[in-house]
Each structure stands twice: as C-alpha cells, then as structure tokens.
C-alpha cells in the first residue's frame, strides 16, 4: 500500500442532501453502467478496447458536478463515467459503444472517443496526454474571447511522463489560462506501478510550473467536489490554471483483456473496503438522509436506466455504408 485512503471526513455539510442524493445516484449509475458494458463486451455487443471506470466514480461525480454549464471538458479514454457525470445521455453513450446510429457520434468513435458538444463534453482522447495542450487552447480561447469559461482536463497518472504534460502545464501557466488539470492517479499506468514510473510526486511537477497543486482523496466524492469548486473559483477569478491530483483506484483491469498479473487480489479487496459508494451511503444513512428503502430505490432506478440504455442501443440500427465518407471535411457554416 502506497496510498492513504480516508473515509469521507467531517466537513460533509456544504452540499445539501438533495445534491448528495444526486451524487449517490450518479455514482451507482457509473458503477452499474460499467458492469453492464463489461457484460456486453463479453457478449460481443461492444468491441475494440473497453476500459472500465469501476472504482473511480467519486472522481468523475465530484469533479464534473463542480463545473458550471459553460465549462468544457476533455478527458482520457476511460471516459464513460465522465460523460455520465456530465449528464450526457446514457442511452446515446451505450449506443455509441455498440457502434450504432444513435450513438453520440453515430458509432464512429466508440468507447475511447465520446463527444457531446452540447454538454461541453469535447471528447475522450485515446492517446495518452494528447488532450492536455487542447485544454490549454480551450482555456486560452476563453480568455481571449473574454468569457468566464474554463476547461477541465482529466487525465491519468500515466500522462505525467509524456512531454505534452510538461508542455501543456508550462503553456497554461505562462498564459494564465483557466484550466483545471485533474489527474486521476489510480496507481497504475496499465500494469506499471506509478511509483515505478515517476521519480518525484505529481503535485511537485505542477508546482514547479507555478500553479496551485494539491493531492486529494479521490475516493471521497465530497472532497473531490469541494476541491474542484475551489479550482473553478480560482480559474474564474483569472488566476490561471489549477492542479488536482486525486488518489483513486480502479477495481477492474486496464482493459477487458487485462489478466492483472501485476497486482494482488488482496490489494483490490483492500480498496473495495473503502468503496466510495459505500462510504457516501453510510455517510448519508448516519445523517438520516437515506434509509434502506431509499437505497433500494436508487438501485432500482439505476438498474432500469442501464437496462433501458442497453435496449435503446440494441434497437438502434447499424450506420449505413453510405455514411462512410460523411463529415470527413467540415463544410462552411453561415456564421
């Protein structure tokens, strides 16, 4: 064990019970959605690479709920949870995973490339660290357009060894761009332990580029939410970028093909005991915000939403071959 995980702490008061209920629902939705995509993958309904987000739900739900409507998001290829937490339609996400017409991009992107521009969700990026400079460009544009908008850039600990990580942090700080760099440190870059890939600590790297940098408990949805709110205020005030490292853990392999030879079952069990959903559930029950019937209702609603998503995706047609060349080049608009 390299990481201290703490259960949700005492300062749980800021979001109201309604908001906590939303967090709980979303986290359960992310969990169940990923279980279902794993199942659909084994049945061949979903193809290609599939990277499940199970275990990291507190990061997505905490961070995305801290954003405002006008903010934009770019993220990595383990992106289903982020899209769901941003409110992207679960049906259309599942249809995209199935490669169908009603998917977010008509089945052209698949699991690693989810886009919903109407929600400011500008994509999952499948090349490690490729989207970090894009986030700086989004932030720079917001500044130049004089709009109160920021870019949330979510990436994994695997990104920090890439040159683009350093280029992006430098440019973001140099040009005071409103960007929240949100690093989901799940301790493994595929199967290589994080500790074996970096000679220092991540926040130190960010601090070296002269921006606020914190490391937080990414298994605690409230801590993630509070810290991201702080970051939003920082960026919104024109103070440049903000860096968050959220310590988290994925329960599943890197992708569906991962035999997980690099870690012990025991380690996973340890983290499961600190499960973010369980923790929030207990927190709410202890404070009378939730009872068993309420929890069962959440489970039921989520199960239905996920089953509906599968039914929707399954009913959606395959894209016609006549669409093969569509949207290769953008046509002029009337702006």
């Amino acid at each position: 064990m390299t990481q201290q995980i703490s259960l949700p702490g005492s300062a749980m008061d800021d979001p109201g019970s309604e908001q906590l209920g939303l967090f709980l629902y979303q986290m359960q939705l992310l969990r169940r959605f990923e279980e279902k995509t794993g199942e659909m993958y084994t049945k061949g309904k979903i193809r290609g690479f599939l990277h499940l987000y199970t275990g990291q739900e507190a990061c997505a739900v905490g961070a995305l709920n801290a954003l405002r409507e006008q903010d934009q998001i770019v993220t990595h290829y383990r992106d289903h949870g982020h899209a769901l937490a941003r409110g992207v339609d679960a049906n259309r996400i599942m249809a995209e995973l199935f490669g169908r017409v009603d998917g977010l991009s008509g089945g052209r992107g698949g699991s690693m490339h989810l886009y919903d521009v109407s929600k400011g969700f500008l994509g999952g990026y499948a090349i490690v660290a490729a989207h970090l400079p894009l986030a700086v460009g989004l932030g720079l544009a917001a500044r130049m357009q004089k709009e109160d908008r920021l870019a949330l850039c979510i990436f994994g600990d695997g990104s920090v060894g890439e040159g683009e990580f350093h280029e992006a942090l430098n440019l973001a700080a140099l040009w005071d761009t409103p960007v929240i760099f949100f690093c989901e440190n799940n301790l493994y870059g595929m199967g290589v332990r994080f500790a074996e890939s970096l000679s220092t600590q991540i926040p130190k790297l960010a601090a070296a580029y002269n921006m606020p940098a914190v490391s937080i408990n990414g298994m605690d949805v409230l801590e993630v939410y509070r810290e991201t709110r702080k970051a939003v205020e920082h960026c919104s005030a024109g103070n440049g970028p903000y860096f968050i490292e959220a310590m988290t853990y994925r329960y599943r392999g890197h992708s569906m093909a991962d035999p997980e030879l690099y870690r012990l079952k025991d380690e996973i069990e340890q983290y499961r005991k600190r499960d973010a959903i369980e923790a929030l559930k207990q927190h709410m029950m202890e404070r009378g915000m939730l009872d068993q019937a309420g929890w069962e209702d959440v489970v039921r609603r989520v199960d239905k939403a996920v089953d509906d998503a599968v039914a929707f995706a399954d009913a959606s047609p395959e894209p016609g071959l006549d669409t093969l060349y569509g949207n290769l080049m953008a046509e002029p608009t009337d702006d």
């Binding site: 061949g44 093909a257 030879l261 395959e318 071959l321 093969l324």
Partner: protein, 445 residues
C-alpha cells in the same frame, strides 16, 4: 428461465478461449460479480465473473476444452429450476468471434464480388454486420509482373496505341514503332490508319512458323495460335456475339456474265483479265451506292454511312484468311478493279499490304467459288454491316419460261446485321446485285 453463461470475449483480438478451471460446481449458489471460472486466452488467463445471480445448473464445457467466443459454457438458474437437457453447443451463427478481426479478410474474400457491386451501387441502408468488412481487401499475394523484358517477340505497344489500333481493327504486328525500344506509339498507329506509315519488312504473316512467340501459352497438347489465328478468332467471335445476323440466299444466273467476261478477256492481256469475282465486286460497288445502309457502321451512338466504298475481298492463305480492301470502288472501272484486285492478292500473299488496306474496308465479299463450294454463308467482318458469300458458278438445271434448261448458276448469300437493316432491305439489295450481274453490260459503264 435458465441463464446462459457464454465464453466471454476478453479482448479485441480474442476468438476462442480455453476453460482452465471451474471455480464453482453444479448446485453452487453464484452471486452476480462472483468469479466462476478461469479462462485462458492466447494472451493470458482471466477470470470469468457471473453477470447474474443463480444456482449453477450445468457445466456445458469441461476443463481443458477450447471453444469459440460466444458458445454456451454453463447454465445458471433458480434453485428449483429444471434445466433442459443438452443446450446448443454450437455458437450462434452471428457469434462475436465470427465478427472478429481474424475472420474479416476471409469474409471479405467471400463477399468480395457482391460487396463490391453493392458499394458501387447505392449502399444498403442498414447493412448486416458481415458487410461492415467490405473495406478490408484481401491481401494480394506477391503477383509476378507480366511480360518480362527480354521477351524477344513481344510487340511493344503503348496503352494508347493499343487502344486506338483495336478500335480501328488495325493489326499491330505489321507496324514499326518509333518510340523507345521500338514501342509503337499513338502517332505510329494514327499514321498507319491514315495510310502513311511504312509497314515492316515483307510480312511473316504468311508463314506461321516464322511467327515469333507472341502466341498464347499452349495448354497441354494444344498448338499455340498464330497471331492471325488469334485475330480471326477474336474478330469472328466479336461479330457473332454482337451483330445479330440474318441471311438471304438466291441463285444468280451468270450465263450472260460469263459470256460478257469471255468477250472482255478474249482480247485482254494477262494483267487486264477480269475474274468472276471482279464482276461481283463491281456489281456490289454499284449496288452499295444505291443501298448505303449496307456500307455503314453500327455503334451505340448510331449509324455511320461511309463516304467511300472499300470492298474487302477474302483471300485464303495457307495459315488463314485475310480480307484486304479494294479502296475507293466508287467510280472505279471494271478494269481498274481487276488490276487492283490482282495486285492485292499478290501483295497479300507476299505480306506487303498497306495498313489502310487492312482496316478501311466497308463491305466484304467472300468467295469460295474456286473450291467448288455451292453455298457460302459468311460472318460479317466487324464493324461492317454485311458480307456477301459467293459459291461456284456451275451449270445447273433452271426453269425458264416453263422449260428446264441448263444455265450457269451461282449461289450467293447475304449475311447482314439486323441492327442496321431488315430482311426486306436485304432482299432489295441482293436483288440489285442479281440484276446487275444478270445484265452485265451495266458493269462495263
């Protein structure tokens, strides 16, 4: 209802898996998410979790067995549920494995013909999954370049020259190329068609043995085809396959014509002597002037009436047949036709024909009279519109004014392209020829 547990797909490239170990036995309660078996893929061993809760009712696949992705490997059910006997061991027709990359090129090969056609036409609105592979083309196993240099007999022709020559019916073997390495170029072919280009040395066309090896590679025991044979084969097949022929035959009473010819030849030198065929050429030239649709060329674009009347005369050679043209028959006297046809035959046999004489014919007369043949029904020489087949002039009984008399009769057969003319037009044309030959004085005009 029992829940089927199937061999999972655990990676983009996985098509089958081996059941290494069952971690649950029949009768065990299984919870959703619980690991029930170990599966070995070609990359690693992975754990299989149950996606539903239930009691393990049956193990369909035993430890150590390798089965395709999607095949049922176990059944889960309620505690009191009776599970049906033998579940289907075959994977469903549309298994994930079948949709995998491994199969893509094979299915692309299978579907190549149809999918290519589909792609060229309107693509289907909702394609089947198999059709999603259309853009994966089967690998091209190292093909060898055809026509290696060093092939001494190979006539080098540029693609454009070959195309123009083919359209004009020009035999490229007679042309001399002026391009690099003697390549026949566009300008060479165009010069040949306009009659300006010198042909090569006196032709080996008459001697197939001298014909170098531009012949089709023989199958077992087959004689290689000479170039002339190939050309005849190609052109005659083309004619029969594209031009719907109709045929008209009649007897021409040549008694007067033979007498007329006798008179002409009585005082003529060898060079000036007129053959029966010359009379027929002259008669046809006159008839064609009056019936221009038999001196025409059909194409999809329409009918082209030729200004010139160039009559090909079939000449039998040892190794085949050649039909060079007497050019510009319109207005030529019988004497001119006689001289030119003798010259043409001589040059055909020595291989000294001009390119234009091969390609400019507008009508053909084929005559096997010298062989004692009674009837000859010809195949149209494309792109012409008709051919006249001529048999021997023979003394035969004929009815004249109620009496049977012996006359010199000649059977002719008109083969005509039905796309160009109809039978009645053909009848008028052939009757015109008949009338001219039966009143031969008109031929002398």
């Amino acid at each position: 209802m029992a829940t089927e547990v199937t061999m999972p797909q655990m990676g983009a490239d996985m098509t089958e898996g081996t059941l290494v170990k069952w971690l649950k036995a029949v009768g065990d309660q299984v919870d959703r998410g619980e690991v029930i078996a170990e599966i070995e893929t070609d990359k690693a061993t992975v754990e299989l979790e149950a996606f539903e809760s239930g009691v393990l009712k049956k193990l369909v696949v035993q430890e150590g067995e390798t089965v395709p992705v999607g095949q049922v490997i176990a059944l889960l059910g309620a505690a009191d549920e009776q599970v049906d006997a033998e579940p289907e061991r075959q994977p469903p027709a549309e298994t994930p494995a079948r949709r995998g990359h491994g199969d893509a090129s094979a299915s692309a090969r299978q579907n190549a013909a149809t999918t290519t056609a589909q792609r060229e036409q309107a693509p289907p609105a909702a394609p089947e999954t198999e059709q999603m592979h259309v853009n994966i083309t089967p690998g091209q196993a190292g093909g060898s370049p055809d026509g290696m240099p060093g092939d001494e007999g190979r006539v080098r022709v540029s693609p454009v020259a070959r195309r123009i020559a083919m359209d004009a019916g020009l035999d490229l073997s007679r042309l001399k190329g002026t391009g690099p390495d003697g390549r026949i170029l566009r300008k060479d072919v165009e010069a040949a068609i306009s009659g300006k280009l010198p042909v090569t040395e006196p032709q080996p066309a008459a001697r197939p043995a001298a014909e170098p090896a531009r012949a089709t590679v023989p199958a077992t025991g087959a004689q290689p085809l000479s170039r002339m044979r190939q050309a005849i084969a190609r052109r005659m097949s083309q004619s029969k396959q594209t031009a719907p022929h109709y045929y008209l035959t009649l007897d021409i009473d040549m008694t007067a014509a033979m007498a007329f010819r006798g008179q002409l030849n009585a005082s003529a030198s060898e060079e000036q002597r007129v053959s029966v065929n010359d009379l027929i050429v002259k008669a046809c030239a006159l008839a064609l002037e009056r019936h221009p649709k038999f001196n025409a060329e059909f194409s999809d674009a329409g009918l082209t009436m030729h200004e010139e009347i160039n009559i090909d005369i079939g000449i039998a050679l040892d190794e085949g047949l050649i039909a060079p043209a007497i050019l510009g028959c319109k207005g030529k006297t019988l004497g001119q036709i006689a001289r030119e046809s003798k010259d043409l035959v001589a040059r055909a046999k020595s291989g000294a024909l001009r390119a234009e004489e091969y390609s400019a014919g507008t009508f053909t007369i084929t005559n096997l009279g010298a062989y004692g043949v009674e009837t000859l029904i010809g195949i149209i020489n494309p792109p012409q519109a008709a051919i006249l087949g001529v048999g021997s002039v023979m003394p035969r009984p004929a009815a004249r004014e109620g009496q049977v008399v012996v006359r010199d009769l000649m059977k002719v057969a008109l083969s005509a392209d039905h796309r160009v003319t109809d039978g009645a037009e053909g009848a008028r044309f052939i009757k015109e020829i008949q009338g001219l030959l039966e009143n031969p004085v008109s031929l002398a005009l």
